[in-house]
Protein backbone atom coordinates (compact mmCIF):
# COMPACT_ATOMS: atom_id res chain seq x y z
CA UNK A 1 0.00 0.00 0.00
CA UNK A 2 2.74 2.45 0.93
CA UNK A 3 4.61 1.43 -2.23
CA UNK A 4 1.61 2.46 -4.30
CA UNK A 5 1.50 5.85 -2.64
CA UNK A 6 5.22 6.34 -3.25
CA UNK A 7 4.81 5.40 -6.92
CA UNK A 8 1.91 7.77 -7.42
CA UNK A 9 3.74 10.62 -5.70
CA UNK A 10 6.86 10.01 -7.78
CA UNK A 11 4.86 9.86 -11.00
CA UNK A 12 2.95 13.04 -10.33
CA UNK A 13 6.13 14.86 -9.28
CA UNK A 14 7.78 13.71 -12.53
CA UNK A 15 4.92 15.09 -14.57
CA UNK A 16 4.79 18.32 -12.58
CA UNK A 17 8.48 19.04 -13.04
CA UNK A 18 8.27 18.11 -16.73
CA UNK A 19 5.41 20.59 -17.09
CA UNK A 20 7.51 23.24 -15.40
CA UNK A 21 10.26 22.63 -17.99
CA UNK A 22 7.82 23.63 -20.71
CA UNK A 23 6.00 26.38 -18.83
CA UNK A 24 8.79 28.32 -17.15
CA UNK A 25 9.85 31.40 -19.09
CA UNK A 26 13.48 31.44 -18.09
CA UNK A 27 15.70 28.84 -19.86
CA UNK A 28 17.94 28.32 -16.81
CA UNK A 29 14.87 27.39 -14.74
CA UNK A 30 13.90 24.98 -17.49
CA UNK A 31 17.28 23.25 -17.21
CA UNK A 32 16.99 22.99 -13.42
CA UNK A 33 13.49 21.52 -13.68
CA UNK A 34 14.77 19.09 -16.31
CA UNK A 35 17.43 17.88 -13.87
CA UNK A 36 14.68 17.37 -11.28
CA UNK A 37 12.64 15.44 -13.83
CA UNK A 38 15.60 13.18 -14.56
CA UNK A 39 16.06 12.54 -10.84
CA UNK A 40 12.45 11.39 -10.59
CA UNK A 41 12.80 9.22 -13.69
CA UNK A 42 15.87 7.67 -12.06
CA UNK A 43 13.79 6.93 -8.97
CA UNK A 44 11.21 5.21 -11.19
CA UNK A 45 13.97 3.05 -12.68
CA UNK A 46 14.94 2.08 -9.13
CA UNK A 47 11.31 1.21 -8.39
CA UNK A 48 11.40 -1.17 -11.37
CA UNK A 49 14.72 -2.64 -10.18
CA UNK A 50 16.64 -1.39 -13.23
CA UNK A 51 19.69 -0.49 -11.16
CA UNK A 52 22.25 -0.17 -13.93
CA UNK A 53 20.07 2.20 -15.95
CA UNK A 54 19.28 4.21 -12.84
CA UNK A 55 22.97 4.84 -12.22
CA UNK A 56 23.68 5.56 -15.89
CA UNK A 57 20.70 7.90 -16.10
CA UNK A 58 21.89 9.77 -13.04
CA UNK A 59 25.48 10.13 -14.24
CA UNK A 60 24.96 10.69 -17.96
CA UNK A 61 21.74 12.68 -18.03
CA UNK A 62 21.46 14.54 -14.75
CA UNK A 63 25.22 14.89 -14.56
CA UNK A 64 26.89 15.31 -17.92
CA UNK A 65 24.23 16.39 -20.40
CA UNK A 66 22.48 18.85 -18.12
CA UNK A 67 25.77 20.48 -17.12
CA UNK A 68 26.51 20.84 -20.84
CA UNK A 69 23.14 22.54 -21.36
CA UNK A 70 23.76 24.85 -18.44
CA UNK A 71 27.24 25.76 -19.71
CA UNK A 72 25.94 26.63 -23.16
CA UNK A 73 23.10 28.63 -21.63
CA UNK A 74 25.54 30.64 -19.53
CA UNK A 75 27.84 31.08 -22.52
CA UNK A 76 25.15 32.62 -24.70
CA UNK A 77 24.36 35.40 -22.20
CA UNK A 78 20.59 35.45 -22.62
CA UNK A 79 18.09 37.32 -20.51
CA UNK A 80 14.36 37.29 -20.03
CA UNK A 81 13.68 40.16 -22.42
CA UNK A 82 15.02 38.35 -25.49
CA UNK A 83 13.23 35.10 -24.68
CA UNK A 84 11.15 34.40 -27.80
CA UNK A 85 7.57 33.28 -27.27
CA UNK A 86 4.98 31.86 -29.63
CA UNK A 87 1.61 33.46 -30.24
CA UNK A 88 -1.51 32.43 -28.33
CA UNK A 89 -3.01 30.74 -31.39
CA UNK A 90 0.07 28.61 -31.95
CA UNK A 91 0.09 27.61 -28.28
CA UNK A 92 -3.57 26.64 -28.42
CA UNK A 93 -2.97 24.60 -31.57
CA UNK A 94 0.00 22.88 -29.93
CA UNK A 95 -2.02 22.01 -26.83
CA UNK A 96 -4.86 20.61 -28.95
CA UNK A 97 -2.41 18.56 -31.02
CA UNK A 98 -0.62 17.30 -27.92
CA UNK A 99 -3.88 16.44 -26.22
CA UNK A 100 -5.00 14.47 -29.25
CA UNK A 101 -1.69 12.60 -29.26
CA UNK A 102 -2.12 11.79 -25.57
CA UNK A 103 -5.67 10.55 -26.18
CA UNK A 104 -4.51 8.25 -28.96
CA UNK A 105 -1.70 6.85 -26.79
CA UNK A 106 -4.02 6.26 -23.84
CA UNK A 107 -6.54 4.54 -26.10
CA UNK A 108 -3.76 2.27 -27.33
CA UNK A 109 -2.82 1.53 -23.71
CA UNK A 110 -6.37 0.47 -22.95
CA UNK A 111 -6.04 -2.73 -24.98
CA UNK A 112 -2.59 -3.80 -23.82
CA UNK A 113 -2.07 -7.13 -22.15
CA UNK A 114 -0.21 -5.83 -19.15
CA UNK A 115 -3.01 -3.73 -17.71
CA UNK A 116 -3.11 -4.24 -13.96
CA UNK A 117 0.06 -6.32 -13.97
CA UNK A 118 2.35 -5.44 -11.10
CA UNK A 119 6.08 -5.17 -11.61
CA UNK A 120 6.47 -6.98 -8.31
CA UNK A 121 4.87 -10.11 -9.76
CA UNK A 122 7.89 -11.67 -11.40
CA UNK A 123 10.50 -9.88 -9.25
CA UNK A 124 12.69 -8.99 -12.20
CA UNK A 125 16.44 -9.36 -11.68
CA UNK A 126 17.29 -8.41 -15.27
CA UNK A 127 18.23 -4.81 -14.55
CA UNK A 128 21.23 -5.68 -12.37
CA UNK A 129 24.71 -4.78 -13.53
CA UNK A 130 25.82 -8.40 -13.76
CA UNK A 131 23.02 -9.52 -16.07
CA UNK A 132 23.26 -6.49 -18.35
CA UNK A 133 27.04 -6.70 -18.44
CA UNK A 134 26.87 -10.31 -19.61
CA UNK A 135 24.43 -9.28 -22.33
CA UNK A 136 26.33 -6.15 -23.35
CA UNK A 137 29.69 -7.85 -23.73
CA UNK A 138 28.45 -10.94 -25.56
CA UNK A 139 25.44 -10.28 -27.77
CA UNK A 140 25.88 -6.56 -28.24
CA UNK A 141 29.67 -6.29 -28.30
CA UNK A 142 29.77 -4.98 -31.90
CA UNK A 143 27.26 -2.24 -31.18
CA UNK A 144 29.16 -1.38 -28.01
CA UNK A 145 32.39 -0.96 -29.95
CA UNK A 146 30.63 1.08 -32.62
CA UNK A 147 29.42 3.59 -30.04
CA UNK A 148 33.06 4.54 -29.42
CA UNK A 149 33.34 5.52 -33.10
CA UNK A 150 30.11 7.47 -32.75
CA UNK A 151 31.50 9.32 -29.76
CA UNK A 152 34.75 10.18 -31.56
CA UNK A 153 32.73 11.48 -34.52
CA UNK A 154 30.51 13.53 -32.20
CA UNK A 155 33.50 14.95 -30.35
CA UNK A 156 35.34 15.94 -33.52
CA UNK A 157 32.16 17.41 -34.95
CA UNK A 158 31.43 19.41 -31.83
CA UNK A 159 34.94 20.84 -31.67
CA UNK A 160 34.90 21.67 -35.37
CA UNK A 161 31.48 23.33 -35.22
CA UNK A 162 32.01 25.38 -32.08
CA UNK A 163 35.52 26.55 -32.99
CA UNK A 164 35.77 30.25 -33.68
CA UNK A 165 36.34 30.79 -37.40
CA UNK A 166 37.30 33.90 -39.35
CA UNK A 167 33.67 34.68 -40.34
CA UNK A 168 32.60 31.89 -42.68
CA UNK A 169 29.47 33.70 -43.79
CA UNK A 170 31.04 36.79 -45.36
Amino acid sequence: MSLQIISIILGSLTLASALMVVLSKHPVRSVIYLVVTFFFITSMYIMMNAQFLAIVNMIVYAGAIMVLFLFVLMLLNLNKEVEPMTTRGAQLAAFIAGGSLFLVLITALKDTLILGQSYRDNDSQIGLVKELGNLLFSKYIVAFELTSILFIAAMVGAILLAKREKQIIE
Partner: protein, 107 residues
Protein backbone atom coordinates in the same frame (compact mmCIF):
# COMPACT_ATOMS: atom_id res chain seq x y z
CA UNK B 1 -2.63 -11.09 -12.26
CA UNK B 2 -3.40 -8.46 -9.73
CA UNK B 3 -6.60 -6.52 -9.55
CA UNK B 4 -6.81 -3.05 -11.00
CA UNK B 5 -6.81 -1.65 -7.47
CA UNK B 6 -3.00 -1.68 -7.37
CA UNK B 7 -2.79 1.37 -9.58
CA UNK B 8 0.46 2.72 -8.20
CA UNK B 9 2.57 -0.40 -8.50
CA UNK B 10 1.13 -1.59 -11.78
CA UNK B 11 3.14 -1.30 -14.95
CA UNK B 12 0.46 0.56 -16.87
CA UNK B 13 0.90 3.41 -14.41
CA UNK B 14 4.48 3.73 -15.65
CA UNK B 15 3.24 3.56 -19.23
CA UNK B 16 0.79 6.35 -18.42
CA UNK B 17 3.59 8.48 -16.97
CA UNK B 18 5.75 7.77 -20.02
CA UNK B 19 2.95 8.78 -22.41
CA UNK B 20 2.29 11.95 -20.45
CA UNK B 21 6.00 12.80 -20.47
CA UNK B 22 6.15 12.30 -24.23
CA UNK B 23 3.10 14.51 -24.70
CA UNK B 24 4.57 17.25 -22.52
CA UNK B 25 7.80 17.08 -24.51
CA UNK B 26 5.92 17.27 -27.81
CA UNK B 27 3.84 20.23 -26.64
CA UNK B 28 7.02 21.95 -25.48
CA UNK B 29 8.70 21.34 -28.83
CA UNK B 30 5.69 22.95 -30.53
CA UNK B 31 5.20 25.94 -28.22
CA UNK B 32 8.73 27.08 -27.35
CA UNK B 33 10.96 29.03 -29.73
CA UNK B 34 14.20 28.99 -27.79
CA UNK B 35 16.48 26.50 -29.54
CA UNK B 36 18.02 25.20 -26.30
CA UNK B 37 14.60 24.62 -24.75
CA UNK B 38 13.62 22.78 -27.93
CA UNK B 39 16.60 20.48 -27.48
CA UNK B 40 15.58 19.95 -23.86
CA UNK B 41 12.07 18.99 -24.92
CA UNK B 42 13.58 16.43 -27.30
CA UNK B 43 15.55 15.02 -24.36
CA UNK B 44 12.29 14.82 -22.43
CA UNK B 45 10.68 12.79 -25.22
CA UNK B 46 13.72 10.49 -25.40
CA UNK B 47 13.43 9.88 -21.67
CA UNK B 48 9.74 9.08 -22.00
CA UNK B 49 10.56 6.40 -24.56
CA UNK B 50 13.35 5.09 -22.33
CA UNK B 51 10.92 4.79 -19.44
CA UNK B 52 8.50 2.84 -21.60
CA UNK B 53 11.25 0.49 -22.81
CA UNK B 54 12.33 -0.20 -19.22
CA UNK B 55 8.72 -0.85 -18.25
CA UNK B 56 8.25 -3.44 -20.98
CA UNK B 57 11.66 -4.91 -20.24
CA UNK B 58 10.62 -5.41 -16.61
CA UNK B 59 7.36 -6.98 -17.67
CA UNK B 60 8.84 -9.44 -20.14
CA UNK B 61 11.90 -10.04 -17.94
CA UNK B 62 14.14 -9.46 -20.96
CA UNK B 63 17.35 -7.47 -20.84
CA UNK B 64 17.55 -6.54 -24.53
CA UNK B 65 15.34 -3.49 -24.08
CA UNK B 66 17.54 -2.17 -21.30
CA UNK B 67 20.61 -2.51 -23.52
CA UNK B 68 18.66 -0.57 -26.11
CA UNK B 69 17.95 2.14 -23.53
CA UNK B 70 21.68 2.27 -22.78
CA UNK B 71 22.44 2.84 -26.46
CA UNK B 72 19.69 5.46 -26.63
CA UNK B 73 21.40 7.33 -23.81
CA UNK B 74 24.73 7.12 -25.66
CA UNK B 75 23.21 8.50 -28.84
CA UNK B 76 21.38 11.20 -26.87
CA UNK B 77 24.66 12.33 -25.36
CA UNK B 78 26.26 12.58 -28.80
CA UNK B 79 23.19 14.35 -30.16
CA UNK B 80 23.16 16.90 -27.34
CA UNK B 81 26.85 17.65 -27.87
CA UNK B 82 26.56 18.23 -31.61
CA UNK B 83 23.25 20.06 -31.29
CA UNK B 84 24.59 22.46 -28.68
CA UNK B 85 27.68 23.22 -30.74
CA UNK B 86 25.45 23.93 -33.75
CA UNK B 87 23.42 26.29 -31.54
CA UNK B 88 26.60 28.08 -30.44
CA UNK B 89 27.67 28.49 -34.08
CA UNK B 90 24.22 29.75 -35.08
CA UNK B 91 24.19 32.21 -32.19
CA UNK B 92 27.53 33.61 -33.33
CA UNK B 93 26.17 34.30 -36.79
CA UNK B 94 22.80 35.88 -35.99
CA UNK B 95 23.10 36.79 -32.26
CA UNK B 96 19.79 35.09 -31.57
CA UNK B 97 18.49 31.65 -30.62
CA UNK B 98 14.95 32.32 -31.81
CA UNK B 99 14.13 29.39 -34.08
CA UNK B 100 12.12 31.69 -36.39
CA UNK B 101 15.22 33.71 -37.28
CA UNK B 102 16.73 30.72 -39.03
CA UNK B 103 14.55 30.56 -42.11
CA UNK B 104 17.03 31.59 -44.79
CA UNK B 105 16.50 28.32 -46.62
CA UNK B 106 12.90 29.36 -47.23
CA UNK B 107 13.87 32.25 -49.52
Amino acid sequence: MQAASSIGTSLDFYLFVSFALFTIGAIGAMTRKNMIVLLMCIELMLNAVNLMLVTFSTYYNNGDAQIFVFFTMVVAAAEATVGLSIIIMAYRNLKSIDIDMYNQLKN
